[in-house]
């Protein structure tokens, strides 16, 4: 437990000290949100209808940048090897990193919502539910994303490989998060929000468990 706390503190501190990076990734996500409208055309009704999809795609694209960055820092000066020599389990390192990435992605998601509201009129009054969906969805991106970033950061074609591995895997997250967010923005007369949130939660449970179970084999020397 102290190992996890120390790992989480280290990763949050790293993120805080490189906050300029986070601002740049936010700008990337906001730019992506702006670009999606050009695929649909200036039809405000259609844009509002698709706004949840735009929001999550922007977040997914931005997440590959922030997830990759989180492990590239560990590759500098062989920092990862040093970490593994410490008396902390690989599992603690994984959960620390995954939780820090989760926090960063959730922050990014929350920050992108106002942009979507301004551009696509994608507002909702159910703010707590929206925050819940963002938390569940970004947890689903961060658990497998952290696991794969640990691999791809050590390979040659890392910029290509992380999205290639991550995108097919997080299809359920994208589907469920888009549906749930869309229900919040456009209204939910059939009370369908709960099953989609449950699907996200199930995905999170499976991937957070698998990640902790398998991470040791990813970083072993």
């Amino acid at each position: 437990m102290t190992g996890l706390a120390a790992a989480l503190r280290k990763d949050l501190l790293l993120q805080w000290r490189s906050r300029a990076q986070l601002v740049a990734i936010f700008a990337f996500g906001a730019a992506a949100l702006l670009l999606f409208s050009f695929a649909i055309g200036p039809d405000s009704v259609a844009l509002r209808q698709h706004s949840a999809g735009f929001l999550w795609l922007a977040l997914l694209l931005a997440s590959t940048l922030s997830l990759a960055e989180s492990f590239e820092r560990e590759m500098e000066e062989h920092a990862l090897e040093g970490l593994l020599l410490l008396p902390a389990s690989a599992r603690a390192l994984y959960y620390g990193k995954a939780m820090a990435n989760w926090a960063q992605l959730a922050l990014l998601g929350v920050a992108l919502v106002p942009v979507a509201v301004v551009l696509y009129d994608a507002g909702t009054v159910r703010l707590v539910a929206l925050l819940g969906v963002i938390l569940l969805g970004t947890a689903g991106l961060s658990a497998p994303g952290t696991l794969y970033a640990a691999m791809t950061a050590q390979t040659r074609a890392r910029q290509t490989l992380l999205p290639l591995l991550l995108f097919p895997l997080v299809v359920p997250v994208l589907l469920a998060a888009v549906k749930a967010t869309s229900l919040l923005i456009l209204g939910d007369p059939m009370e369908q929000l709960r099953p989609w949130a449950l699907l996200l939660a199930l995905f999170d449970v499976v991937h957070w468990s698998l990640g902790g179970l398998l991470f040791g084999r990813v970083v072993e020397e």
Partner: protein
């Protein structure tokens, strides 16, 4: 020498069965009432679906076995099974598209099984791409085993999420759901493809094992204990 030729015999048997089953399905079996001759693609499509799932299940077994035993033969088999599984899934998507165009009027539909197969092609294809970019054999083996387990665990979640999202595909065809006249070509082709892919996996894992042997120097710890030919996989999986 007899065991060395077993995979080739399996491949040959598979090809013969596949030819026989397809001939039966194309020429002998009666046409389907509503779809006519278009339905005859079922004789390869349904067995391909069964076998694609089976090959990827075998890849999952190999991945778990590698992580538990650290034995290189499972890494070679994993590589072979994933390649064969991806090719079968790709074939499945192609056959499905060929069938869907005259039946549904579109090449592609976002139905759960079709979409899940496409996602599987990308998920496992991505792992094969990962393998080509990792030079260290130990890391390559461990990472692809881990990635294979994660991707395999994801398949049912993908399937159910797409199913909730959209549905149009007809119910699965099994010998119980199709007329008796269609049984035999289906079964023969299913075994034909089964023998074909197991033979191919055995041959491909032998190639992977040879490449491993050339990559690893000094020799593997297993090789120092026994003669190399006894350690590296030679026979069928």
């Amino acid at each position: 020498m007899a065991s060395a030729n077993r995979p080739k015999a399996l491949v040959a048997l598979g090809v013969v069965l596949l030819l026989a089953g397809s001939f039966w399905g194309l020429a002998k079996a009666p046409g389907e009432v509503f779809m006519g001759d278009v339905q005859r693609i079922m004789y390869v499509h349904v067995p391909t679906a069964w076998n694609a799932m089976l090959a990827l299940c075998f890849a999952f077994v190999c991945a778990v076995a590698f992580l538990l035993t650290n034995s290189w033969k499972w890494d070679s088999r994993l590589e072979a099974a994933m390649e064969v599984g991806v090719v079968l899934s790709l074939l499945l998507c192609t056959q499905g598209a060929i069938w869907a165009k005259p039946t549904w009027g579109v090449w592609w539909d976002w139905d759960p099984r079709l979409t899940t197969t496409a996602v599987m092609v990308f998920a496992f294809g991505g792992i094969l791409a990962l393998r080509t970019f990792v030079d260290d054999p130990a890391k390559r083996a461990a990472w692809s085993a881990v990635a294979c387990i994660v991707a395999f665990a994801d398949v049912p979640i993908v399937y159910f999420s797409v199913r909730w999202w959209n549905s149009l595909h007809q119910a699965q065809s099994t010998p119980e759901t199709v007329s008796k006249a269609f049984h035999w070509p289906l079964r023969i082709n299913a075994f034909g493809i089964l023998f074909l892919w197991t033979g191919l996996v055995a041959l491909r894992s032998r190639v992977a094992a040879l490449r491993l042997r050339s990559e690893i120097d000094p020799p593997l710890p297993e090789q120092t204990k026994a003669a190399p030919s006894a350690v590296l996989p030679g026979g069928a999986p």
